[in-house]
């Protein structure tokens, strides 16, 4: 009995015990992680939530100069049917001066339709400018009332604490006036 437990054969018994200890411990860690993962993953979006991940939008009733808001994945999507003057304003900017340099051409698929996620990139408020009479900020785009971020007519950050331009969601034109977001 004492013989089997004794680490008498120097080194040999020691390394085997160490190996068993580490191997058992490692397997325990792997097993624990595998057991905990379903608990964590259950908090990720469920299948019914993921199924609602695209929104179709008909642009035909939207007049020039009109802005509308639709929801996609529970977020507001700002759609701006831009008049030529707003397009010109957005395209005449020196891109190098921008905080988050991006050309207007890279932010739209058709020049007259700007489609962005209407969430301020600072801390998640909804910038004003969608309704008639809303403040639109110094560049005529959107103005966030929470901490004073100004966005231009391309939805780019121009002034205030927000670090990035309003994000452009993934979208595609199904035909001339039908857009699928997501």
């Amino acid at each position: 009995m004492a013989d089997s437990a004794s680490p008498g054969h120097s080194g040999d018994g020691e390394t085997r015990r160490d190996f068993l200890f580490l191997a058992a411990g490692a397997l325990g860690v792997v097993g624990t992680v595998a057991a905990v993962w379903p608990l964590i993953d259950s908090m990720n979006p469920a299948a019914d939530v993921r199924a609602l991940s695209s929104t179709e939008l008909d642009l035909s009733p939207v007049e020039v100069g009109q802005r509308i808001t639709v929801t996609w994945r529970g977020k507001p999507i700002y759609v701006d049917h831009r008049p030529q003057k707003e397009i010109d304003a957005a395209r005449s900017v020196n891109i190098d001066e921008l905080r988050d340099p991006q050309a207007d051409e890279d932010r739209v698929q058709k020049a007259e339709w700007l489609i962005v996620i209407g969430i301020c990139t600072h801390l998640g408020c909804l910038p004003k400018g969608q309704k008639v009479g809303d403040p639109r900020g110094e560049w005529g785009g959107w103005f966030c009332p929470c901490h004073g971020s100004h966005y231009d007519t391309s939805g780019r950050i121009r002034k205030g604490p927000a670090p990035l331009n309003l994000h452009v969601p993934p979208y595609e034109y199904l035909d001339d006036t039908l857009v699928r977001i997501g």
């Binding site: 993962w37 379903p38 608990l39 993953d41 259950s42 469920a46 299948a47 019914d48 939530v49």
Partner: protein
Amino acid sequence: MSEFKSNNAVIKWIEYRMPIFSFLDDAIGRGYPTPRNLNYWWNFGSLAGVALVIMIATGIVLAMQYTPHATMAFDSIERIMRDVNYGWLLRYVHSNGGSFFFLVVYIHIFRGLYYGSYKEPRELLWILGVVILLLMMATAFMGYVLPWGQMSFWAATVITNLFSAIPVFGDQIVTWLWGGFSVANPTLNRFFSLHYLLPFVIVGVVVLHIWALHRFGSNNPIGIDAKGPQDKIPFHPYYTIKDAFGFGVFFIAFAAVIFYAPNLFGEPDNYVEANPLATPAHIVPEWYFLPYYAILRAIPNKLLGVVAMFGSILIYFVLPWIDRSPVRSARFRPIYKQFFWIFVADCVLLGYVGANPPEGQFLLIGRLATAYYFLHFVIVFLLSYLERPRPLPSSISEPVLKGGGAAAGAAAKPMEKV
């Protein structure tokens, strides 16, 4: 008693300000001397702890997906099963976890009955255990109601109606329990609230249970007190590794049910949404309530049936004073040992009767088994005086060292009285 030492600077820094490491060491570490002869029946306490942790962990994430409303509860459960990531797994772990929790706890209780773990000085430890059992039963019952299937609804109706047996105030009490004039949405809401609360109350009582345990340490298969350090070994690594081995065996059985027979313990009727206008033809509780259900139905009087059912558990509170034999372990109580196994068989028989309709032979068997259930405690009381125990070994280590099993120390010190 604390001989905890560490060379780790961080551990020493914390230990000086809050001696949590020596506390843990005394609780489940090298600083907790434990009888050297514990057998595998002593694994079931730690297994119950693991089951409680599993139930709370899965229950918390399930509560994030569940809607406690009469019109939405059933659908939210189906959403958990179909749409939520791993929702099927979490729900099956939680629903079968209840069964395994009870299985483990019942074995734990029978172990205590066999080895006399409820006897002086562990009466309070035992009583706290009975409190935990009652809390578990309330929690399990209310959890079973939450899916709002037919079995859920009618279980809620029947069990809450038990309280209508209370003289004079019965109806008012039941209306109060329901929050209305039948089991309905207010009932579901409060059951959800309490189902979330009670497990944490159980955790609190488990802490007390372990506290009381550590006052005198575990009982052991021989049932005599340790005579000195030679009778004990440190909890860690000896019993941590033994408990861990038990966890592995437990998880194999648990996984087999979850993955291959997840509805083994369930009733198909509970996949039908609650209908207050139609009682299922044959309603039965979960298996772990069947013996009590059989006792309830055995007595043809509403109030007495309810009293007998609750009495079948409440009697454990006074068991330490019913059994007056100074010898703890049934190993040295040849007659008690036989009655213990008859009692186990009687409990299983009650469960079998509880699963069957209360008519014909089952009614008769149920009544006999119920009568025997209570008679057992009379027998235990009488055996305290009538039984002549076998001689006890003089120490825990003696039979181990002589290698002759329990009988080895027979001659050494006959009839030790505590």
